[in-house]
């Protein structure tokens, strides 16, 4: 008998080697208690959270919690059904209305996760003879959306406008084309040149989908994302986003002004063949989204945090993923996985949690310590974070 698991042997071996050195498993951390969006108890120790994507700190907002509790009481713990059967409650329509209001768009469709939103929209709208042109560093959910569908897939070099333009020009004029971009790329925290990319896409007759998962609530005057900040949101055909970052719960969505958009509810398999979100989740999401519309002061504080952490880490001698702070993600580039894991553990010992990211999730085989800031990180917490990076960096030899 061939053991179907033998294909995982190299990964099992790599993990064992890493853990034999006595390191804490970076992919098995348990948060025993969560005090707030920025503090949890890990291994019995009070730990500052700097790797949660909880950009706007909505998870403990009193209005959000109250809305969730009320929906749990009034509508029960779950819908036990698909959106197209028994799984659409008043709360699902209310959160879709909140999204239409937030983005000022005509249509909104809510999925059970952000992953499923990309999976569903991409696999459904691009058919066999259509082309999907996408950035090589696209998120796994975008690639999986391509794999679930059967369109022709054309990748181009990360954030390279000319490479995108060249490929679009070589495609047959009359075929359907979908260009898939992200506002913020989550591994390095860099922003896409959407203004130029949307322009060349439109010139080639392509439809454009932008995943704004890591920019919603924070980037742009209304928090609508990088496409708003760069003034091209009106030319974007579909915006995909998630509730599991700035919104502070779980779920995914797509908003659009396409006049035929609603038909997707009947033909999009990752929307139809799964249970809808629980009533408490859509109630917390709707409340959070409406509060995010009016969060200019929080957005400003988050930018301050991002700028200060970026400058501080640079000053300490760390190599960062971007030359300037472009989003709420600051990626610290580690020389290799062993050093990255050692640094990750040293930070945890100091009382700081960051994400350890490694291939294949990362571009160019990099190992990253990814920091995502929260609007609720206080000035003194950012100071503490820099102190912990200094101590851990010196202890592991990452900086001198």
């Amino acid at each position: 008998m061939t053991d179907l698991f033998s294909k995982f042997d190299p990964l099992i071996e790599q993990r064992e080697t890493l853990l034999e050195s006595g390191l804490t498993d970076p992919f098995n951390l348990v948060m025993e208690e969560v005090e707030s969006p920025t503090v949890a108890i890990c291994n019995g120790k009070r730990t500052i959270l700097l790797g949660t994507y909880n950009y706007m700190g909505m998870t403990f907002d009193p209005d959000v919690i109250a809305a969730g509790k009320k929906a749990l009481e009034d509508f029960g713990s779950g819908t036990t059904g698909s959106r197209v059967l028994n799984g659409t409650y008043a709360g699902h329509k209310a959160v879709e209305q909140a999204l239409m209001d937030f983005y000022a768009m005509d249509h909104a469709m809510v999925f059970s996760t952000g992953y499923q939103a990309n999976l569903g929209v991409i696999s459904t709208i691009a058919g066999k003879d259509d082309y999907i042109v996408l950035d090589i560093d696209s998120h796994a959910s975008i690639y999986d959306g391509c794999a679930l569908g059967n369109a022709q897939i054309v990748p181009f070099r990360h954030n390279d406008v000319e490479a995108l333009d060249k490929r679009l020009r070589r495609l047959p004029a009359e075929t359907g084309k979908l260009v898939v971009l992200e506002g913020v790329y989550s591994m390095l925290g860099d922003v896409a040149p959407l203004k130029e990319m949307v322009a060349v896409s439109k010139a080639a007759g392509a439809m454009v989908l932008v995943d704004e998962a890591h920019s919603m609530g924070f980037i742009g005057d209304h928090g609508r994302g990088v496409s708003e900040a760069q003034g091209v949101i009106d030319d974007v055909d579909f915006i995909v986003g998630t509730f599991s970052k700035s919104v502070g719960t779980v779920g995914g969505f797509c908003v659009s002004n396409h006049p035929k958009f609603e038909i997707l509810r009947l033909v999009c398999r990752p929307y139809v063949f799964t249970a809808s979100l629980p009533p408490s989740v859509v109630a917390t999401a709707a409340t959070s989204i409406r509060k995010l519309m009016d969060s200019a002061a929080k957005r400003e504080h988050l930018w301050e945090n991002s700028k200060r952490l970026h400058a501080g880490l640079r000053q300490l001698g760390f190599t960062l993923g971007t030359d300037d702070p472009q989003s709420a993600i600051i990626a610290v580039i580690m020389p290799d996985l062993e050093t990255g894991a050692a640094m990750w553990e040293a930070l945890l010992d100091e009382g700081l949690y960051v994400n350890l990211a490694r291939p294949p999730a990362t571009p160019a085989g990099m190992t990253l310590l990814r920091c995502s800031l929260c609007a609720l990180h206080s000035e003194s917490q950012v100071g503490d974070i820099l102190g912990m990076f200094a101590a851990a960096g010196r202890a592991t030899g990452c900086i001198s």
Partner: protein
């Protein structure tokens, strides 16, 4: 329209700067196993080939291409 032999010769030339192992190139040379290219090298090489021949080699097509000879066959079809 260039013939197969011309396309093969040009392809071998284009491989040269990416051939860090100095492997001998034949029709049967495999990109992943023999040249040990990672996904970024593949992206750069494919972009170079696309620019040279003014074609698009989709990821769907790339999945079917393992050897230099198969790439040349694909280019012959694309230029036909």
């Amino acid at each position: 329209m260039p013939d197969r032999q011309q396309i093969y010769a040009t392809t071998v030339q284009l491989i040269e700067p990416f051939n860090k192992k100095d492997a001998a190139i034949t029709e049967a040379t495999r990109f992943a196993q023999d040249l040990e290219w990672d996904s970024l090298t593949v992206l750069d090489f494919v972009a170079t080939v696309e620019d040279e021949f003014d074609v698009i080699i989709t990821m769907n097509m790339q999945a079917e291409i393992e050897t230099v000879g198969q790439l040349v066959d694909a280019l012959v079809r694309l230029k036909a």
